[in-house]
Point group: C2
Chain length 221, copies 2
C-alpha cells in the first residue's frame, strides 16, 4: 500500500476514551492531533466542550461517542446525547447499535434507534458502531444494511471495550455490505503500522486508535 505519513494522519482519529483519562491527558491528545494533523480527536462526551475550545480555528475534527460502549440505553437518550454533543462542538457522532435488539432479531427497533439519532443531528457525520466481536457474520451484514438505510454515513467495527477489537475479516465484510458510498471505520487493537495497513487494505477508510503517533512515525522512518 502506497501511503504517506500525511495521508495516513488524515485517516486517523486520535482516540482517548478510557474512563480515567484526566484533563491533562485529553489536552495532550488534542495538542498531538494539531501537531500531526490527524483527521479528528475522539473523546468522551464530557470532554467535547473543553476540546472544542482548544481546537478553535483548527481543521482537526471532534468525534464523540453516544450510548457508549454498550448501546443498551433508550434511543431518546442516545439522541439527546448526540444533540448535546453537537451543541458544544462535536463534528462527528459515533453511536453504538442496540446489540441486544440485534441478538433478538428485533430489526425494527435496531433501525428506529439509528433513525432517532440521525434525526437529532441532521447533517452531522453519523457512524454506527457494531460490536463485531459479539456478532455473527450475517448479523454484521444486516446491521450494515440497516445503518445505511437509516441514513448513517459510516459503520465502525468495535467499541474497543467489549470483546475483541476490529478484525480485518469483519472490515472486509462491512465494506462489502455498505459498498463504496459509505465509510468504514476500524477501531480497537490497532497498535502499529502493520495493523493500520491491514485494516485499510481490508476496506477501512478511517482508523480509531490511540497508538496514532507510533503509526505515523513508523511510516515516516
Amino acid at each position: 500500500m502506497n501511503i504517506t505519513p500525511e495521508s495516513m494522519a488524515l485517516k486517523i482519529e486520535h482516540t482517548i476514551l478510557k474512563p480515567d483519562a484526566d484533563y491533562a491527558s485529553v489536552d495532550r491528545i488534542v495538542d498531538e492531533a494539531i501537531k500531526y494533523k490527524f483527521a479528528a480527536v475522539c473523546v468522551n462526551p464530557c470532554f467535547v466542550s473543553r476540546v472544542a475550545t482548544k481546537l478553535r480555528g483548527s481543521s482537526v475534527g471532534i468525534t464523540t461517542v453516544v450510548g457508549f460502549p454498550l448501546g443498551a440505553t433508550f434511543s431518546s437518550v442516545k439522541a439527546f446525547e448526540a444533540e448535546k454533543a453537537v451543541e458544544v462542538g462535536a463534528t462527528e457522532i459515533d453511536m453504538v447499535i442496540n446489540t441486544g435488539a440485534v441478538k433478538s432479531h428485533d430489526y425494527d427497533r435496531v433501525i428506529d434507534d439509528i433513525r432517532i439519532v440521525r434525526a437529532a443531528v441532521p447533517g452531522v457525520c453519523l457512524t454506527v458502531i457494531l460490536e463485531t466481536g459479539l456478532l455473527e457474520n450475517d448479523e454484521i451484514i444486516m446491521c450494515c444494511k440497516l445503518a445505511v438505510e437509516a441514513g448513517a454515513d459510516f459503520v465502525k467495527a468495535s467499541s474497543g471495550f467489549v470483546s475483541t477489537g476490529a478484525k480485518a475479516s469483519h472490515i472486509a465484510l462491512m465494506r462489502k455490505a455498505v459498498g463504496t458510498k459509505k465509510g468504514v471505520k476500524a477501531s480497537g487493537g490497532i497498535r502499529n503500522l502493520k495493523d493500520a495497513i491491514e485494516m485499510l487494505e481490508a476496506g477501512a477508510n478511517r482508523l480509531g486508535c490511540s497508538a496514532s503517533i507510533n503509526i505515523v512515525d513508523e511510516l515516516s522512518r
Copy 2:
C-alpha cells in the same frame, strides 16, 4: 456469618448487563428473580420497560444503570436517562461517577454531576458507582464523601466492565467512609458463596451478581 438462603436472596440484585443479552435472556433473569425472591433485577435501560411489565405486582425491584459503564457523558444526559428510566418503571438508579473529573481533582464537577442526577429522580434510591479498580484509596474515600453530600443512598464498587471488580478491601474502605446510614453495594466478579460472604463481611449490604442462583443454592445445601 449467619445467613439464610432467603436473607441472602434479599441482598442480591440479579444482574444482566452484557450488551449482547437478548430479550429471552432478560426474561429468564426476571423469572429467576421472582422464583428466588431476589431484591431486584439489574438490567440496561433499554430493557426496563419490558421488565416492568413482567414484574407487575411482584416485590422484586428494578435497578438500571446510568452513564454506564464509563460515566464520561454529560450530567444532563445522565439525568435524562435516570428520569426516563424511572418513568418506565425503574425503582433504583445506579449512576457512574465521572472518573475523569475525579482523576483531575475537579471535585466541584464530580459532586455537581451527582446532584444533577439526584435532582432528576427525587425519592428514588440512587447509587453512585465508583470504578474502584481505577482509583487510589484516597480518591475512593473522597468519592464516597461527595456521593453522600450530594444525597446518594448507596455507593457501589465497580461497574464490572472496566478494570477489576469489587475487592473486599475497597468495600471496607467505602463502608468506613459512608458510615452506617448509607448503603454499600459490591459488584463485579462475585462468582460464588465465598465471594458473596467476603463482600458482606467487608461491609457490603447489597450484591450485584449474575451468579446469584449459584450463591443461594450453595447456601441451601
